[in-house]
């Protein structure tokens, strides 16, 4: 018998048992539906994460730290040997942990290298308060420095070309501040902003106090204990628009790296954190992965590339996707038994038909094929049904999900045609495997016995 004839007969046999075929394939459809959605959601999440990183991290960017504990999970946990270069910093949990910091020497060494450029230490900036020109109140804000590798949208004003820093007397204000400040973006551009930076005072020694008293009397001693602050003055260059692609949802004031360095130096002067940095960012001139290896070998630093950061996010997405896919696979396994069961019943019901076909000279192999193709059809129908439902749901839900999760134009469920095709194809294969035993039973039926049943 020709393959096409067997396939058509198999198709007709299924058509004639519509209810049973539908219910059996529905079981597969449940698994296919869940798998398709998990694939689509995983794809969407990865693309979203990818966009997020592309918009926030230069692919050539390197994140350099001296202490592996900073970039590895569980920093600050447990016990470690004390060395003099340990400094205390704050871990994510708020607990203070001791880690090795980069020193000014380290930065200088990095800046001297030819395979990287734009080495910028990570300054942790803090301000006591900020005053805006023309507004009486003082505000507490968070401060950061401008990353020239990211192109941002502006609500007013202008930004320098990509890769160029703003000048040291310029500042960028996020759009989110406008409401609180009660001004428009246009009004704010060109205004002066004064940032008051506190200096962490070291506790004066007895000698310091004596010296101060001798030179300036009571007043000098009081001054020694008074908290010191310094005002840094900037002009607003632009107002930044909020971006759905921004990693940090925390709106910050942005100053230039130069200004950030000055502010940090002032703030940490005289403390144990002076001239020490948690890490540094740099831009690799060539392959970041190669630079990473050399840096780690030459200096013993721990380096993260943009790809590493991406990998971290992807691992998270993959684990979530794996969990959903696991449940879908369970559903599929259950449906496999459904197929086996249905096909066994079908063989029993059609015993005389099988006997007749054998009497007419149909070969064992072809009878086995007939039942396997029926199973394949069930698998295909189930796959198509599940995938179809998932596509419809994705199409209906995507706008809503995007709105709810505030993804800013990014869709969460992304269907990739070849993934869907492979899914349906593998369901057909799974169905054929499930139909194997019943098909074998049919092929092995004794035609004489089979013709005796009515």
């Amino acid at each position: 018998m020709k393959r096409i004839d067997i396939m058509r007969r198999a198709g007709r046999n299924l058509q004639q048992a519509k209810g049973r075929t539908f219910l059996t394939s529905l079981a597969i459809a449940v698994g296919a539906f869940t798998l398709t959605l998990s694939l689509a959601a995983g794809q969407g999440a990865r693309e979203y994460a990818d966009n997020l990183l592309k918009n926030n991290i230069d692919p050539q960017a390197l994140f350099i730290v001296k202490d592996k504990a900073i970039t590895s999970a569980g920093a600050g946990d447990g016990i470690r040997e004390y060395t003099d270069d340990l400094s205390s910093t704050t871990a994510g949990s708020g607990a203070s942990v001791a880690v090795k910091m980069l020193t000014k020497d380290d930065i200088a060494k990095l800046q001297a290298r030819t395979d990287i450029k734009e080495v910028v230490p990570i300054y942790s900036l803090s301000s006591r308060y900020v005053a805006f020109q023309g507004i009486d109140k003082k505000y507490a804000v968070s401060l950061n420095y401008y990353d020239s590798s990211i192109l941002s949208d502006v609500a007013a004003g202008s930004l320098p070309k990509l890769g160029e820093q703003i000048s040291s007397n310029e500042i960028l204000v996020p759009e989110d501040y406008l409401e609180t400040l009660g001004v428009t973006a246009e009004q704010l551009v060109g205004k002066t902003v004064v940032v008051t930076v506190p200096q962490v005072t070291a506790t004066p020694t007895q000698e310091d106090i004596t010296n101060a008293f001798v030179s300036g009397g009571d007043k000098a001693v009081q001054e020694l204990f008074a908290p010191k602050t310094k005002n840094f003055s900037f002009t607003v260059r632009a107002v930044l628009k909020k971006s759905a692609m921004a990693i940090t949802s925390n709106p910050q004031l942005h100053v230039s790296t130069t200004a950030a360095g000055e502010m940090f130096d002032y703030a940490s002067k005289g403390t144990e954190n002076a001239d020490k940095y948690l890490g540094a960012t740099a831009i690799a001139k060539h392959d970041p992965a190669v630079t990473k290896t050399t840096l780690e070998k030459d200096h013993g630093y721990s380096v993260q590339t943009a790809k590493d950061a991406q990998g971290l996010l992807f691992t998270f997405v993959n684990i979530l996707q794996g969990i959903v896919a696991g449940f879908a696979t369970l559903a599929l396994i259950a449906s496999v038994f459904g197929i086996i069961n249905t096909q066994y019943i079908s063989v029993l019901e059609r015993t005389s038909q099988i006997g007749l076909m054998k009497a007419l000279g149909m070969r064992r192999r072809d009878i086995g094929k007939l039942f396997r193709y029926e199973a394949a059809w069930i698998g295909f129908l189930g796959g198509a049904l599940g995938v179809g439902l998932a596509l419809i749901l994705g199409w209906l839900m995507n706008p809503w999900i995007t709105k709810q999760l505030d993804l800013g134009g990014q869709t969460l469920l992304i269907f990739v045609w070849w993934q869907v095709a492979i899914l349906i194809l593998s369901l057909v294969v799974i169905a054929i495997i499930a139909g194997w035993l019943p098909a074998r039973k049919a092929a092995r039926l004794d035609p004489i016995e089979a013709l005796r049943t009515e």
């Binding site: 007969r9 007709r12 004639q16 009497a359 007419l360 000279g361 035609p447 013709l451 009515e454």
Partner: protein, 227 residues
């Protein structure tokens, strides 16, 4: 010409051995109509199965046109059956869910007849049994006589040289039974097809050119034929 030579078929082993066919021999000339007559359990159905290659006897030969089909491999027996033989059963064995057209098409599909030749042959066979106007109907909607006529159409569509009929009128009333008999004998005469009817109906057997009486697995009497 079909020669059955010393065919012995047993079921079971040792103590429970049952001899279904015991040293059966006879010869059927081409184009003859033959009745194999016997009571139920006499071994007549087993004889039909052995002659068609569905069942394999312990010893003996089935010579069809000079070839012993018992020496064929399974594949060759299947091809032989699909090209040379056809069957009609007491309980019709038409596929109720399929249309009449597709019921008749089955032997052509099995014999790998090209698709373009099928339509005319199927319609011709359906026309020969008077069911052409029912070709789109499902077989389960037909009456008993119509089902057996459909089975005849299915049997003759691939122009067999040997047509086996196992109690073809057993499930039919006398009027429809007579019309089915007429179809079979007419076809036998017109196309020179060997017709082998397995029956216990003496009246039907008497219409055949040759009668093989079988009892307890043994041929007790052969009337007519090439002796």
């Amino acid at each position: 010409m079909i020669e059955v030579r010393a065919v012995t078929k047993t079921y079971g082993k040792k103590k429970n051995i049952f001899t279904a066919l015991d040293d059966v021999s006879f010869t059927i000339p081409d184009g003859a109509s033959v009745a194999i007559i016997g009571k139920s359990g006499s071994g007549k159905s087993t004889l039909m199965h052995v002659m068609s290659g569905l069942d394999r006897p312990e010893s003996g030969e089935i010579m069809i046109d000079g070839e012993n089909i018992l020496t064929f491999k399974q594949k060759r027996v299947d091809v032989f059956r699909s090209e040379k033989m056809a069957f009609i059963f007491q309980s019709f064995f038409v596929q109720g869910n399929e249309s009449c057209y597709n019921n008749v098409g089955l032997p052509l599909e099995i014999a790998r007849v090209p698709m373009r030749h099928r339509k005319t042959r199927i319609e011709k066979a359906l026309d020969a049994v008077g069911l052409l106007e029912k070709k789109k109907q499902r077989a389960r909607d037909l009456s008993g006589g119509q089902k057996q006529r459909l089975a005849i159409a299915r049997a003759i569509v691939n122009k067999p040289t040997i047509l086996f009929a196992d109690e073809p009128t057993g499930n039919l009333d006398s009027v429809t039974g007579a019309s089915v008999e007429k179809l079979l004998f007419d076809y036998n005469k017109k196309n020179n097809t060997t017709l082998i009817v397995v029956t216990h109906d003496i009246d039907l057997a008497k219409r055949c050119d040759m009668q093989v009486y079988i009892k307890d697995g043994k041929v007790v009497r052969v009337l007519g034929g090439a002796q």
